[in-house]
Symmetry: C2
Subunit: 242 residues, 2 copies
Amino acid sequence: MRDMNPQTLKVACSTCNLRELCMPIDLSKEELDRIDDLVGARRKIKRGTTLFRNGEKFTSLYAIRTGFFKTCVASEDGRDQVTGFQMAGEVVGLDGIVNDHHTCDAVALEDAEVCVMPFDRIEEFSREVHSLQHHVHKIMSREIVREHGVMLLLGSMRAEERLATFLLNLVQRLHTRGFSQSELILRMTREEIGSFLGLKLETVSRTFSRFVEDGIVEVKQRHVRILNPGALRDIINPKAPI
Amino acid sequence: MRDMNPQTLKVACSTCNLRELCMPIDLSKEELDRIDDLVGARRKIKRGTTLFRNGEKFTSLYAIRTGFFKTCVASEDGRDQVTGFQMAGEVVGLDGIVNDHHTCDAVALEDAEVCVMPFDRIEEFSREVHSLQHHVHKIMSREIVREHGVMLLLGSMRAEERLATFLLNLVQRLHTRGFSQSELILRMTREEIGSFLGLKLETVSRTFSRFVEDGIVEVKQRHVRILNPGALRDIINPKAPI
DNA sequence: CGGGACGTTGACGGTCGTCAAAATTAGTGG
DNA sequence: CCACTAATTTTGACGACCGTCAACGTCCCG
């Protein structure tokens, strides 16, 4: 532990440019000052290493400042499932609350930095700042709703629809963060995409190839350019003939 | 609104035999009195009708007292997905918090009764009763973890494994509530099971038939008796040869 | 008792998984 | 900086599993 390292020193939400993504928007100056104490420290996570692991004691939620994560669960017999990909401004660790230990792994897919928010402190502040309380509830509810969408995808969509949904969702979230609407760099392998979408990596690769043939996207390894977003939307939501 | 109806009159958590399922266990007498005010009213839901619907304004969470529900989401082009089945002591409505309106339907699969808990009151009491606050967080976290399990099922299991998982999960939850470990009555159709498991109703039916052939279960319509729970577990988690 | 919802079973086909090999890229150490 | 190995990706051939379509059987509930 080298807390003298400036990277793990306390930092302020009040001056964070991601505040509107992970904090309530309608805070008074006093409340903001209070909130600043929420973040215990920042922590850097090297690519390929874990922020937390299944079985580890739960202490904190983590707001992603930079970088890109995947979360995955594993069954007893070794098969595993990516449950989501998370980027700046999103919060991970919610799974740990119920049993006081984590039930999934959070792995950095690129070098990352997170704000560590001790959960007991979150609960303490939530009792005082109403809008923070409601914000915490919203974040958890949002995760539940997101997972409903994934269940719909896994339960009822074909490979092309899954991949189209995935791409549109990713690019939309990146756009919110100021990136391009049509270009993105995948931080994960085909296998990780497949695990998330309930497909094998070969199927993911083949489906990409089909999109390229059809002129819908351009793919150079992990660099993807969406040429025809309308076509992607049509794949998911085929227009009924009149 | 006929509030003179005894069925919608206020009732007490403190005397409810499901309290340990939907409330924190370590409440003082004073806190319990407070909690009693959480439940605005009870509400009866007839089989086949909805407790709430996608798009409706969110006001309350609902603790199920009796009966059985399914929740389902729908995509724009009409396909839908059962996201869960809920029984006594479980809470529904969490999806509505994030956008102040519900994003799924909750349908009673048998006549049911729920405790209506206005969410603003939950937030208010949560600020005063720490254990209630933590309990609310746990309920939401539990739902997130549950959905992780469903994603694992939908993303990586074959039909037999899905149905085996489903049956063991149902019977385990029923057992917690004092019912048999080996017998259960399905409150949902094959199509609803299929929608939840990401399978077509024919596949569900065929898989049941295979289980019966193999002597693992006895099935008479919706009445299921599990003859060999070990075999069901082996299907999910095949023992590796030494 | 009759009609409609629900469930079962069969035949067939499509989508995606499996296995394999080759191509391309990334990473590592000299 | 380059060579070499490991990791990732692509593509093909084939087959399994599950979906589709269809017909029939069964159980409720009015």
